[in-house]
Symmetry: C2
DNA sequence: GGCCGGTGTGTCAACGTTGTCACAGAGCGA
DNA sequence: TCGCTCTGTGACAACGTTGACACACCGGCC
């Protein structure tokens, strides 16, 4: 900036005014400064600006894995909001590892993130997060909350959605329904299992531990699935607790050549679910809206909004495509 | 840092030494400084550090759309390399819009990105990129190059892969094969079409413009597809130029209830391609390796590696699953 | 004429860190 | 004893920007 000032024969401050478009600058001064800027290829040094201003117009996004379509769609929505409002977005995958997640949050926060949208990994230390918030880094939780932390949350209607999906199978004549969800320590997994159990109970059906698998879909051994499918009293229908489990199970069923196909309802939609035959009935979430709302909420906080914390529950939507309507043994006709 | 120094009764510089673990500090001084740091919850201000050091240990990643599974997997791989080497990753989707892409690159670069991995949007101004590189921001192009720019590239074997996929259909008795690819201005689209044309030519088949659609898969009207499928001399097989087109076409074929199913080979693998019936034969790329190699290459450049630019071509792999082996009218038996 | 607000420009300090230099004591070999 | 290296610490400037403040000029109004 000094060079530009010298070239244009003005003071540093005047160049600063031109660059930022604030304050009074005469037309001719402006022109000569602009010319000097263009000629020298000057670019404002953001580090110095950030240091001086104490802010970086940056937000962070930490979620389990960008390669998961649920999160990648959410990421894109956050990106769009951030770009629109002139914020830079930092993002990283926690890989569901609390220490990696913590490292990421620390690095974002020390790099001046004004706020962070966080899908907390299971086992995240609440005290740590509390400290970050106290240090001035706003937080919005998406997909999963951390109980007792003063922050906004944007979650899906996990219990209600899973209840509806399960009830849908029951209504089509299934009484013996298996549930496959993520590890017990994952919030959404237990919420959705709760919804599943509620639906069974409402229908007067007994829930059976042997019909519930809670494990990481990527790591669960195939035997775990076979144990359920080949139980003495096997299920006639399946509820998948997330899109990873849906894909895993559908692949497994195809490999087994399972016939007749069990009734199937997946939580969270996934690509090609409509193209499979039968189409896969799902309880769809809306990751794009989730991301957009979280980003807008966070940016409001960053801008100084002190209103009470919001706890948004996004409704789910049952999309009927065939697999959830395969008649069970107790179907009316 | 001043507060810590005061609390520990030492100079600023000594605190700096403790924080960075460089230089000589006596055990007891270290202990008292550490205590002061912990007590005050001190965190180094990265802005000031960056200003002083002139670097931010940051790299950027700009691609078309994180919500596209190809790019989301690539992103995850880049993330992992960056994290491993202590770099922060900035990433954003260009939405295939040159001006958005440019804005993103500028913002990354002015925020001190030491280098950028770029999947250049079609129509990206080479002069602009040249300027960024001259300004000290290393670049690695993934998926698509920008001709004439001094930078490393990591690309897929587009021509060879498409040729192999098309030849595979021909070998199974198809002589009339349609090609659906991205807009003509997209590098990979024309490369893959070239491979497709080469395979036809090698087999002594005539290529027919009416059998080639080059359009954005999201925006192409359904009639465009129907025009091809319902041509006077309709295709018996289809090559899809990317995973977006594969999904679009498979959905379209299902909606039409098209029978018999045309032979089908997709460029780039996609989730559930193996679960569909028949399984979808694809020419698979390896986005994770592409991302990893690009990130490693970029970090080497950032670290000062001045070796000649590398131009890596990642091989593709034909995965046979059924749709590409449906016999065509000229099948031998 | 004196005062005012609007316009245009410059000086200076400060943001928080780290590299350079300086200094001082201890240990040691010549 | 001198000079050397190793250890431990501090003073100070500099990174490039911007906010606070000061100043000077102009036209208009009482």
């Amino acid at each position: 900036m000094g060079d530009v000032a010298a070239a244009a024969g003005v003071s540093l401050k005047t160049v600063s005014r031109v660059v930022n478009g604030v304050g009074y600058v005469s037309a001719e001064t402006l022109a000569s400064v602009q010319a000097a800027i263009d000629q020298l290829g000057f670019r404002r040094n953001e580090f110095a600006r950030q240091l001086r201003q104490g802010t970086a117009a940056t937000i962070g996004l930490v979620l389990e894995d960008v390669a998961d379509p649920f999160y990648s769609v959410l990421t894109r929505a956050v990106e769009d909001v951030a770009l629109e409002q002139g914020y830079l977005l930092l993002s990283a995958s926690s890989a569901e590892d609390p220490s990696r997640s913590r490292r990421i949050v620390e690095s974002f926060s020390s790099r001046g993130a004004d706020g962070i949208i966080l899908a907390p990994a299971r086992g995240t230390d609440p005290e740590f997060l509390r400290g970050e918030i106290a240090a001035g880094c706003s937080m919005v939780f998406v997909d999963r909350p951390v109980p007792g932390i003063p922050a906004d949350t944007v979650l899906a209607e996990n219990v209600g959605g899973a209840r509806e999906g399960t009830a849908h199978l029951i209504a089509h004549g299934h009484h013996r329904i298996a549930f496959f969800g993520d590890q017990e320590s994952v919030y959404t997994a237990t919420e959705r299992r709760t919804g599943y159990c509620e639906a069974l109970e409402e229908a007067g059906l007994e829930s059976d531990e042997a019909m519930m698998v809670l494990a990481a879909p990527r790591e669960a051994p195939a035997e775990l699935i076979d144990d359920v499918l080949e139980a003495a009293d096997p299920p006639t229908a399946i509820v998948a607790g997330n899109n990873r489990w849906s894909v895993r199970l559908l692949r497994h069923l195809k490999e087994r050549g399972q016939r007749p196909l069990p009734g199937f309802v997946g939580f969270d939609d996934f690509e090609l679910g409509d193209v499979l035959d039968p189409g896969i009935t799902v309880v769809a979430q809306d990751p794009a809206t989730m991301g957009r709302l979280a980003a807008e909420l966070l940016l409001r906080r960053v801008a100084g909004d002190e209103a009470p914390h919001e706890h948004i529950r996004l409704p789910t939507r049952l999309i009927v495509r065939g697999s959830g309507e395969l008649p069970g043994p107790f179907a009316e006709r």
